[in-house]
């Protein structure tokens, strides 16, 4: 038997095995096709609602996943500290919102400039931190065995988490952190709804449409902001000379170096952009979900990593698609299956992809990776 036939046979076997396990264990985890079909039929509007929630959460995951995938594309390192950098994005924006007095104000103008300042600060802050992390923890290990930078990344992740834990105790900077210590979830006020109500609008943009659907200003802002960020990133990678240098470095670092590309500068730029995106995702998640928690980066990081793998790690389009797919999967699992199994379903996808298509959905278009 040829090697190719063997591979195909093995894949078929794995698929059958996996499907068998899903059908065997699925009903325990709420995977009951007839009842799901019935639920969709009974109320199709709910399906739309789950899609809105899934897309908004997926947009945040997609932006985090971009940071993973860009770094992987260029230095083949899974930057485990990235999820925690996103948590720093949440905390840094919350801190700025508190310092500018935005958390307590009702004045719409104040809220708008407060959020704008917080966004800029979170983006710049996380970008700079990410570059510093690369300089400190990864650059010296660039030619070391691949396990070394990975362990260094895990170390950075713990460092960021524990600084986050201390950060969340500093109620003299952010009074709303309260006195419960750093480990508890902190309130991230729902400023967008407050802004909209202050201006006299309904928070639900579809309230007067009579469709019975809910699309809030928060959903819209998250989706639009994510879309803008993704399109600008794509344009940047495709059109600018630095973007071209990034693509070249991703394809072949040594060849790029021979052609006169400053590799260190390109890698720093990658970390800068990835970090900035994490900062933006942090502000978006804070405003959308309303919670700041020192450990939130861990879960978000795992989901975003799954999204990046699903789309094909190293591939930008893949990371975006993967983010949206994971967001939708989590939303459908919460809605139609059983909320306690959502995490299991998401990681089942990770296992399946690694087993069946390790290159991910878009993995073969290497030319696009950056």
């Amino acid at each position: 038997m040829s090697t190719k036939a063997k591979t195909i046979l093995r894949r078929i076997l794995i698929t059958v095995l996996v499907l068998y396990v899903i059908f065997l264990l699925g009903p325990i985890a709420g995977f009951d096709v007839p009842s799901i079909a019935k639920a969709i039929q009974a109320d199709p509007r709910q399906l739309v609602q789950f899609i809105i929630v899934g897309v908004a959460n997926g947009a945040i995951l997609a932006i985090i996943a971009l940071g993973y995938t860009m770094v992987y594309g260029i230095i083949e390192l899974i930057n485990f500290a990235h999820g925690d950098l996103y948590m720093w994005g949440v905390f840094s924006s919350l801190t700025i919102l508190s310092l500018t007095g935005t958390l307590t104000t009702k004045d719409p103008v104040h809220i708008i400039w407060g959020i704008a300042v917080a966004l800029i600060f979170a983006v710049v802050f996380c970008a700079v931190v990410n570059v510093a992390i690369e300089r400190l923890a990864y650059r010296r290990l660039r030619n070391a065995p691949r396990l070394a930078p990975l362990i260094s990344a895990i170390g950075m992740s713990f460092t960021l988490e524990n600084i986050g834990l201390i950060w969340a105790q500093q109620s003299w900077i952010v009074p709303s952190f309260g006195t419960t210590g750093g480990a508890s979830q902190k309130d991230y006020p729902d400023l967008l709804s407050r802004l909209f109500q202050g201006l006299g609008y309904n928070v639900n943009l579809l309230a007067s449409s009579g469709l019975g659907l809910r699309l809030t200003i928060k959903d819209l802002l998250v989706i639009v902001l994510a879309g803008v960020l993704m399109i600008s990133l794509r344009l940047f990678i495709q059109r600018t000379s630095l973007g071209k240098a990034m693509r070249a470095t991703a394809q072949n670092r040594d060849a790029a170096k021979m052609l006169g590309i400053d590799i260190d500068r390109v890698i720093s730029a990658t970390f800068l952009i990835g970090g900035g995106l994490a900062g933006a995702a942090g502000l978006m998640a804070g405003l959308y979900n309303g919670t700041a928690w020192w450990f939130m980066g861990f879960r978000a990081g795992l989901f975003a990593f799954t999204a990046a793998v699903l789309g094909g790690i190293g591939n930008i389009t893949g990371a975006m698609t993967g983010g949206f797919l994971i967001g939708l999967l989590a939303s459908f699992s919460d809605g139609y299956l059983n909320a306690r199994w959502t995490e299991a379903w998401v990681f089942a996808v990770l296992v399946l992809i690694l087993l069946l298509r390790p290159t991910g959905l878009f993995g073969e278009q290497v030319g696009e990776k950056a």
Partner: protein
């Protein structure tokens, strides 16, 4: 050996003998150690800190002594939470129990806060003497009451076949039932959706609630465990918002502690289904803490209900009033409901130690302390006059329901 060094050594030996003699004369009182094991990392800290304060207060009132000064009492508040869990951590609680079991000077273990934690430490301490546990806060019925928990409970927690666990707080076979009756009778809730955090305590109280709700004739639209580390629950709340034939339910009951992401759950509930006047939101004592209101934001939390065993602080008897006065003089305004239970655990333990001494026993003997605790009858404490039954449960059955109003919990009434 030179002559000089011989003299030096002789002097040293003589001096050390002299010091040893002084030491023996100076510390005639033997030290007994009491430890508590409560989650002091995470949102529950708001509650547990007041428990520790109250226990220290009671001990200070006794001048850290027992049996007329024959014994010195030392108290150590241990933390059974880890930052990584953000709440009580099974590994830490087990380590605490093992540490206590191995230290012979420890004569009582005041804990735990979470019923799931108690389920781990009871069997360890049961085989260590047994070392008596008195909990200020565990409410899962299966820990003590036969037939009220899962099959095999509570016997599986007591491998030494002797009870070592008592609690001063009323269990959830009362709490879950009172909550269901309150929602049905007082709030007019006919349809309810139940969520829990999949822990022993949270699921336990939710199960009792469900059974009572069904027997009252309420419609239980669903009962689900949640992922306590999820970023949000908007999809789940969307599902619940149409679970009642396309309409939201009349009420949502959450069986959980504050650390199980309860604030996020409430935020998403309010975002999808509006404030708490239309769709009622109620939980057990695990969310009756200021941290719930602060974490969710006062306007989001406005109108939610939570129940706690016992009567409100201002309805306590004279001894209870005195406690509140003493507490506030030392630690500031008291709003958390568990401080008084913390005080009572130390209170009843000291009483048991006095009883051991009075009957000529040895309070450093764990078994004698255990027997004295279980023998407590008609105890005149800050909660009123009450007894431990053979299971180690209190004879008190009052439950108070609180409602969040303008950023603080306010008592609505006391029920049985």
């Amino acid at each position: 050996m030179s002559k000089r060094s011989f003299v030096l050594i002789s002097v040293l030996v003589a001096a050390s003998m002299l010091l040893a003699a002084c030491g023996a004369g100076g510390s005639a009182a033997k030290t007994l150690k009491i430890v508590s094991s409560l989650p002091m990392t995470g949102s529950s800290l708001t509650q547990t800190q007041t428990i520790v304060n109250a226990e220290e207060l009671r001990l200070a009132q006794a001048n850290n002594q027992a049996c007329g000064g024959k014994y010195t009492l030392a108290y150590e508040p241990w933390d059974d939470a880890s930052a990584a869990q953000g709440q009580w951590d099974p590994a830490v609680e087990t380590a605490n129990a093992n540490k206590a079991a191995a230290d012979p000077s420890i004569i009582a273990y005041l804990g735990t806060f979470n019923s799931g934690a108690a389920a781990l430490s009871i069997p360890i301490l049961d085989q260590a003497g047994p070392l008596v546990m008195i909990s200020p806060a565990n409410t899962y019925p299966g820990l003590t009451k036969p037939g009220k928990g899962a099959p095999g409970e509570p016997d599986k927690y007591y491998p030494a076949s002797v009870r070592n666990y008592a609690r001063v707080v009323t269990a959830d076979d009362v709490q879950g039932a009172v909550d269901a009756k309150f929602m049905f009778n007082n709030l007019g809730v006919k349809t309810v959706y139940i969520l829990d955090d999949q822990q022993l305590y949270g699921k336990g109280v939710a199960d009792v609630f469900e059974a009572t709700a069904k027997s009252l004739g309420m419609t239980v639209l669903g009962h689900e465990g949640i992922d306590t580390k999820a970023a949000d629950y908007k999809a789940l709340m969307t599902k619940i918002s149409t679970s009642n034939n396309g309409q939201p339910p009349d009420g949502i009951f959450v069986g959980m502690v504050i650390d199980s992401n309860a604030t996020q759950l409430l935020k998403d509930k309010v975002a999808i289904m509006g404030d708490n006047t239309k769709v009622k939101f109620m939980g057990p004592d695990g969310i009756q803490t200021q941290a719930m209101i602060d974490g969710a934001g006062a306007s989001t939390a406005e109108g939610i209900y939570a129940s706690v065993a016992g009567v409100p602080l201002d309805k306590l008897g004279p001894a209870g009033q005195q406690f509140v006065k003493d507490y506030e003089a030392k630690y500031g305004k008291l709003t958390e409901p568990y401080a008084v239970y913390g005080y009572e655990t130390m209170n009843v333990l000291l009483k048991a130690l006095e009883n051991v001494c009075a009957s000529g026993g040895d309070p450093s003997n764990r078994k004698q302390v255990r027997d004295a605790v279980f023998a407590i009858k008609d105890f005149n404490g800050v909660l009123g006059t009450w007894s431990f039954d053979a299971n180690g449960d209190t004879s008190l059955t009052d439950m108070t329901i609180y409602q969040a109003k303008s950023g603080a919990y306010t008592a609505v009434g006391t029920f049985k």
